[in-house]
Symmetry: C3
Subunit: 337 residues, 3 copies
């Protein structure tokens, strides 16, 4: 997926030769080919430079549409046909560092200005005192925005939305009838850390957040933007206070998530899933449609559609309850003897 | 409890005949009787229209003061004497939808204005830069409010309170000497979801938040307003950062709640209760006075006064510790053999 | 450690005689000696008045640099030589109450003013609309601060920092290249509660927060200031969204902390420690360098360097996994028989 120019400023296309120079990499491919984006290996599209650090058998998942891929020397021969190789010792770290030079997050708003000249606020939208709107942002008819909220550069907000006080939105496309309670944070950088020579470094995050129609988000909850692709919240999904949705989560429709629930990066959550309070899901887990997680569940593997799971690590709720009861019985009888 | 007109605008009294029309319900009662409020079945007062979806034996809890009650056809004969029946197939969903038409949350502040003309700010109160005050709000002597904070329409704040930066308060009555750290959210909508034909819908929340004298709330914590009645925090209760108090919680005095603790809707928390960090309590649970919950406890049933509980699901701490020790011993000895 | 006058206004030095009068204590020492600070017993420096409420054998940890120490009558004879005794029945409560009179937190900003006259904002720093800067604050070259953020009185911020929207910072010293996402709360009062005659009282917090270079803090996370000393976050440490770091935590370099993690007061976290999501650590616990805590771990005792722990209460991850597997096996086989 290309980096969205509404949210990130680019220095423009660079040749693969230039990329190799910035990366300190050896190029196997056309040095004049223009590179326009950065992406993960699996979602790369035309013009994207991606990276690969997995096992050899995983190379088949690299997108054939990628322009080039950063790889370690031993892997240069395994790329799909037509994908140029940028050979280097630390593909991911190099991708992070060059990506950071090529694309820069636009500031939330013009420095010091309240409503950026280029913003498109519908005359029937209502802005409270102190609302800040960035360059290129658009706010639809009937939408109301509470005091002090910040609509970042390029953000698109639909019609009849209700946004509370002190909300910040960036790198996001928002549908109609969406409600964001006060203190909600949409589109902050996802959490990604990589080891560099001097210690931990942040991995830059080039994706977006999509909130479909009728989504509701509770007070002080956070939904991070994707690393390269989008974090997506499906129609009518309802999120309680103090929840966190990580980067690249793809959530279906009418999902209900109680307070303190956290969904780690790249999870897939099916339609109608329900999470009790403080349920947590580890990264890259899939929760099938209609599944329910009990309060305080900690989920580390996929949950089939329609099932009810609980406990940490989560398993089918019936198993968990049986274990709890059995353990209690053992120690109670033991006490008596 | 009637809907508080300081926080919600009403279209005024409607007759039960009009209610029946809006609800698509069959009225058994006086079509000219004026309905002035919406409420739950148990807390209904004079003029309130409530709903019932429980079991027949629970009908005795319906308030005899209710003007009318939405019920399914089979239950119309079980209402208290003098309570009119509004007969329909989906009482709760219908109540949600008509309620939403009759009462509307007032905006936090007048659109674009910083201090609403009708607000009563004591001359000895101090407001920092950017503070927004809504119509009908009142702020007492000696109270200090930090930069950018928003005091919503109709909110009453007492004397000598200390309110940090970026705090938002709505639908709330606040006593004296209350401290709200930065980023606190008081009075947002409680989390209630109901299934409609097109998917999940939010249940509107018509209640308030009451904070008694000397309450302290930590940074970025949230206290939701009641669904119909009030969320109440008793005198001198102290709440740490990133806590969540759900709708209709009734909390006693000098309760101490460490970070990340969450109390679900309609819980009752006795005087002097102490919660360790990340303790969670499921909805409608009662914690007796002086009880203590260990850090990370997950409470799903009532805790008697004075007891110390821990674990998930929580049980008396001694039992929990015995189970933990026993389990550890079993698997350690098993490893050796 | 003395109370930092950039953050707290003092009534100036008071004699020990005056201290005794305010405290209702009996002084054993020089009534003319000037007291300039308040502190804990172990970190007291020249001029500080501290308190002691422990066991007799712990008295050897009282700092020999303390000017005076509040103690119960039976302990007055056990103080280090040269430390005056302020004898009273409730040393800690008395210390809290007198400390509150002697030192007052400065307001975040001058009342009503946006940029306090005394603030030093570098001409190459960029402030968005609505940014508030308190008296004596300093903001370095190249630092960017998002809409509505509040830099409190006396706060020092280095160069090339990136601060989001609606961030509040107080009682803090911040290095270079620090990133604070939107809604972050730095320097709020740590959570401390003490029982008084009328019920719970807040313990005032006189310390600071130090964020070293390249620290990153995620959206809506909170880092409290120390009770007397400093809360310290080491170079390049990375903190995800909705985390909480308690007062007096000392964290090393390149620590990585995933969402919802909480570190209670006075913990010591070694270099390179990694916390999975929702990991919690009880107060005064030490986590050795390079240790890892699994997601949802609840740590109640020290974790040796380099180890991997999980579960609640946390133990070595291998033990925990063995227990989980064994318990599951017992109840599954039992079901079949």
């Amino acid at each position: 997926m290309p980096v969205d120019p509404r949210f990130f400023a680019s220095i423009g296309a660079v040749t693969l030769g230039k990329w190799a120079e910035l990366a300190g990499a050896t190029l196997i491919g056309d040095p004049e080919a223009p590179a326009t984006g950065v992406s993960s290996a699996t979602s790369a599209r035309h013009g994207d430079v991606c990276f690969f650090e997995g096992r050899r058998e995983e190379m088949s998942a690299i997108s054939v549409d990628a322009l080039a891929c950063l790889v370690k020397p031993d892997f240069a021969d395994g790329l799909p046909e037509g994908v140029a190789a940028l050979v280097c010792d630390a593909p991911r770290l190099t991708h992070v560092r060059v990506g950071r030079q090529l694309f820069t997050l636009r500031p939330l708003s013009e420095w010091g200005e309240q409503i950026a000249p280029g913003a498109a606020v519908h005359p029937e939208a209502k802005l409270a005192h102190g609302v800040v709107v960035g360059a290129g942002a658009a706010i639809g008819e009937g939408t109301e925005i509470g005091p002090g909220s910040v609509i970042g550069a390029g953000v698109q907000i639909g019609r009849n939305c209700r946004i509370g006080a002190h909300v910040s939105v960036q790198c996001a496309l928002i549908g109609d009838h969406v409600k964001l309670a006060s203190g909600v944070r949409i589109g902050e950088a996802g959490f990604g850390v990589i080891a560099g020579e001097a210690g931990a470094e942040d991995i830059p995050q080039f994706g977006r957040v999509i909130l479909q129609d009728h989504v509701t988000v509770g007070a002080n909850s956070t939904i991070d933007r994707g690393a390269f692709d989008d974090t997506l919240i499906g129609e009518r999904s309802k999120i309680d206070n103090l929840c966190h949705i990580g980067h690249n989560v793809v959530m279906g429709r009418s999902v209900a998530i109680a307070a303190f629930s956290g969904i780690s990066g790249s999870c897939v959550i099916g339609d109608g899933v329900q999470l009790g309070g403080r349920a947590g899901i580890a990264d890259h887990v899939t929760i099938g449609a209609g599944a329910k997680l009990a309060a305080a569940a900690g989920v580390f593997r996929d949950v089939p559609a329609g099932e009810v799971w609980g406990g940490v690590p989560a398993r089918p709720l019936r198993e968990y309850m049986r274990e709890v009861a059995w353990l209690s019985k053992q120690t109670k009888s033991r006490k008596k003897t």
